[in-house]
């Protein structure tokens, strides 16, 4: 096989792969509708406000409910010391 044909085949496979992941994403989104509804219902029933992504500290567990500047509240020169605090910037509204 000529090298250019092999390359053409490689890109054909790659583009097909890209189209396949688009189709897979659409299919999985359709299938996930019920799951998303169930999660939404739990949020409504319990009145939940946050994702349980960072459970290490109260102000990272409930980002939207934490006191303003809570990361720095323990003493005047306290520095943020939880790793997720460096991943997640404070909500814009609470910045000076």
């Amino acid at each position: 096989m000529r090298q250019s044909n092999a390359l053409g085949l490689f890109f054909l496979v790659a583009v097909t792969g890209l189209m396949l992941i688009m189709a897979d994403a659409a299919y999985r989104r359709d299938r996930a509708t019920d799951d998303l509804d169930r999660r939404g219902r739990l949020v409504a029933e319990l009145g939940l406000t946050d994702l349980a992504l960072f459970t290490e500290a109260r102000y990272t567990r409930h980002l939207t409910q934490s006191d303003l500047h809570s990361a720095l509240q323990d003493h005047p020169l306290a520095l943020e010391h939880f790793p997720s605090g460096s991943l997640v910037p404070p909500p814009r509204g609470s910045l000076p």
Binding site: R2, F10, F54, E56
Partner: protein, 376 residues
Amino acid sequence: MAFARRQQYLIDFTLSSLLRRKGRNLGLLLVYSLIVFMLSSVMLFTHALRKEAGIILRDAPQIVLQRIEVGRHALMPADYLEKIGRLRGVGEKKGRLWGYFYDPAVKANYTMMVADWRALAPTEVVLGAGIARTRGLGEGDYISFRSSRGEPRSFRVKGLLPAESELVSTDLVLMSEQAFRAIFGIAAGYYTDVTLSVRNPREIYKVAEKLSLALPDTRPILREEILRTYDNIFSWRQGIVFVLLAGAVLAFVIFAWDKASGLSAEEKREIGILKALGWETGDVLRMKYWEGAVVSLAAFFLGYLAAYLHVFYGSAGLFEPVLKGWAVLYPEFRLVPFLDGPQLATLFFFTVFPYMVATIIPIWRASITDPDAVMR
């Protein structure tokens, strides 16, 4: 037809030329694909998470009202509910009881919450899937918590929250109001905060303003603010992930620029020979254009496809240690693949084009010089 054949010959020649320096070019392809993989993974992960947060939290309370005392969140007396009820526009209102509980057995923080509608007995709890996994508990097992007075209280696990809702419930412990008050020593007539709905959604800001005036020691948090917070937080331009990635991307830019702009003596000689053999400047440029296109497009496809598999089939496993931090409880979740067309286009533009441009310019410079001078 002649044009296509010409391009095909050029591509054949380009591939042979690339394969002559196999190790170096495969190394470049690997590093390039890794950079695209990392960037795409961050973009796919944060976009999917942001979309999912937006959909799930659409059902969050319209307004959460917190009481603030000496700058901190404090308990809300029940008579505030009555005061809130007197404000026009306020619909349903409800005092919530929730709090954090540190479990020294596994060094994890739980979120304890009262769920009236579950009709739990004072000795029953419903656990989030993360807690059940960490403590190795199932339905019918027993778990005990130390109350604020130091007494251990034992609870029967009545059920587990569904695994598909782990993203919002992995660390939840649902219990009855009586059990919650007993554990935390909260007297009757006090709540953690209040959630309320507004009859006309267009009046939310007005109602929030009235709340702040009528109850000056409170802080209203609107659903819109909750949604905006999550929208901002997972913006891929923010946070340390981007800072770290920016370093990696810059290193790659320097690497690619160095590789592309500093032509090796061998490459210069090759151009000289081609020109001496009768190749035109345009042909040399076209050949090098194909070289850049082949490498960057291959890296883009490989990196993006691998990133999709990593994020949506591998649960973004590489990010887990970073996101987990010091937390013991981390939700096991599979994100719904929300893909974003403009995001894909941006990624394509910023990863494929700069490399192609960086390759073309030095080649053009070398190919317009005299073949004899280049070969010497």
